[in-house]
Amino acid sequence: MLRAAVAGVSLLALSLAACSPQPGASTTAAVEAPKPAPSLEDKFATSADGTKIHYVASGEGPLVVAIHGFPDFSGSWTKLTPALNDSYRFVAVDTRGYNLSDQPEGVANYAMPKLVEDIDAVIAAEGRDKATVIGHDWGAAIAWNYAFAHMDKLDNLIIMSVPHPAFFGRQLANSPQNSDYARNFQKEGSEKNLTAEDLAGWVQDPEMKPKYVEAFGKSSFAAMMNYYRANYPAGANAPPANAPPPSFPKIAVPLLVIHGMKDQALLSSGHNDTWEQAAKDTTVLMIPDANHFVQHDAADLVNKTIRSWLDARRPTE
């Protein structure tokens, strides 16, 4: 009995030893000792017009640039960062007007081409030719437009909440009342009603909330409204009724769209036929019990989906 047990143990040791080296197996985190969490670096890029863009960078690997929306800041990606930075270089941008980035005055300084160039400057500051770009809300609008302007610099495109611009007009026509908030933001003086505390009202996590209030305290409310004044395709920016439907270059990289179906500002139906605007594979993830801030409402599902989707499309460095 004892002998059998010993024999069993040595067999066990033998077979365990036999499998631990795994020659030829691709590098696995399971075999290596766990690495310490990559440190977060505060960095700055200088955009084409001289605006300084703050971003938080961590990790090594293919570059992933994440762009927040309104009202938000680089801290929006606090939970996504550790889901990626063991294997990717992950960058969370403060878009101009927010937190530690410059806050130039005037509506013209928030026109989409400038917002797009800010992202280009961040990628260049990181010394890269290409990146996977992730955007939410205004960050998604910037990400779509980054794709149209710099398709050759994209590895993958990940969009949260915002329909492709080709379908935005359809949505505005079908449900104009859902955009009333944006038309109110466009009005002169709309920023006078804003406070850092109110803007952070949507943040549930008690640890995150003070960070949001602090970041909004450092941000320009006028800048936040200028995104709508310069770019929202309604009110003063509405295309003429007889304008031909806009056309866009097909998205030439894999596309992942994630949407919270409780979103009342941007409706799920806006993502119908997104795949018709793409030349590579399109994945749409719809989450019924999540709202506009889908990366917070369904953090686990969203971040795991991004990681697994990205790993399956990992760019060669």
Partner: protein, 319 residues
Amino acid sequence: MRIAAGLSLLALLLAGCVTPPSPPDAPAASATARKPVPLEDKYAQNGDIRIHYVASGKGPLVVMIHGYPDFSGSWSLLTPVLNDAYRVVAMDTRGYNLSSQPVGVENYEMPKLVADVAAVIKAEGYEKATVIGHDWGGSISWMFAFTHPEMLDNLIILSTPHPSLFMEQMRTNPAQQASSQYARNFQKEGSEAGMTAEGLARRVQDPELKAKYIEAFNRSSFTAMMNYYRANYPKTVGPGAKRPFVPDNPPPINVPLLVIHGMKDTALLSAGHAGIWEKASKDTSLLMVPDAGHFVQHDKPDLVNNTIRNWLDMHKPGG
């Protein structure tokens, strides 16, 4: 006796170590590097009908249902991607290959096809399964979800739009109406007359697989294949189009849903999947593949099979 016990322990341990938790960035090819899991030919009984299926692996049950013209071998590439961590079952649906081939259109009505799936799950001794279906297998899977939600862990659909969205297409979309003409031809009496196993296997590119398809089709009933259309496909298009057996307002899909579609599919158009998430009460993932046709699992096996594995691991029952 002791030696046997030691050996089986060894085998167990080795089996454990040749299949380490695969790193998330492992390419699909790594699946072929795994030690092959033995395939078992098995049968389930649904009344007088015997359903053949190929089973392998251990873990949460995954039942895969092929379409037309196809057989359990349709999943030969997906099976090894899953069976190191799942109990994987590929059915021959009735009329095909080694399953029974009852005579008469009524024997191919949707409720009977659905009951065959339930019989397979029970034969495996499980109460629930993830169900994967392509083409007619997709239709069976949707209907299984409507009628047996308590037996479903996850639902994975290849190519076939949700019945309500498909009927909307059949009523209003001239392109889909035109694309469905082939099915109305299949419904006609004698449509099976000109069919051959070689003709049905023409789309299969891989010569080794093609031979297996021809062998399976030679064992299959062409009349049965056409009976799927005669019993279940809408008889007309336009505003009055109706689909037998499928409820007008089916209950929402209450498990995670993955839909995969090849955009070059000329029988089932991509537009049929728009708004699919409105038919579901859990998370819906839709993968659209531009350079794949109707047999999306063969046209882009790496992308499709990796997506299924990754998605399933994230939605693993009990995990």
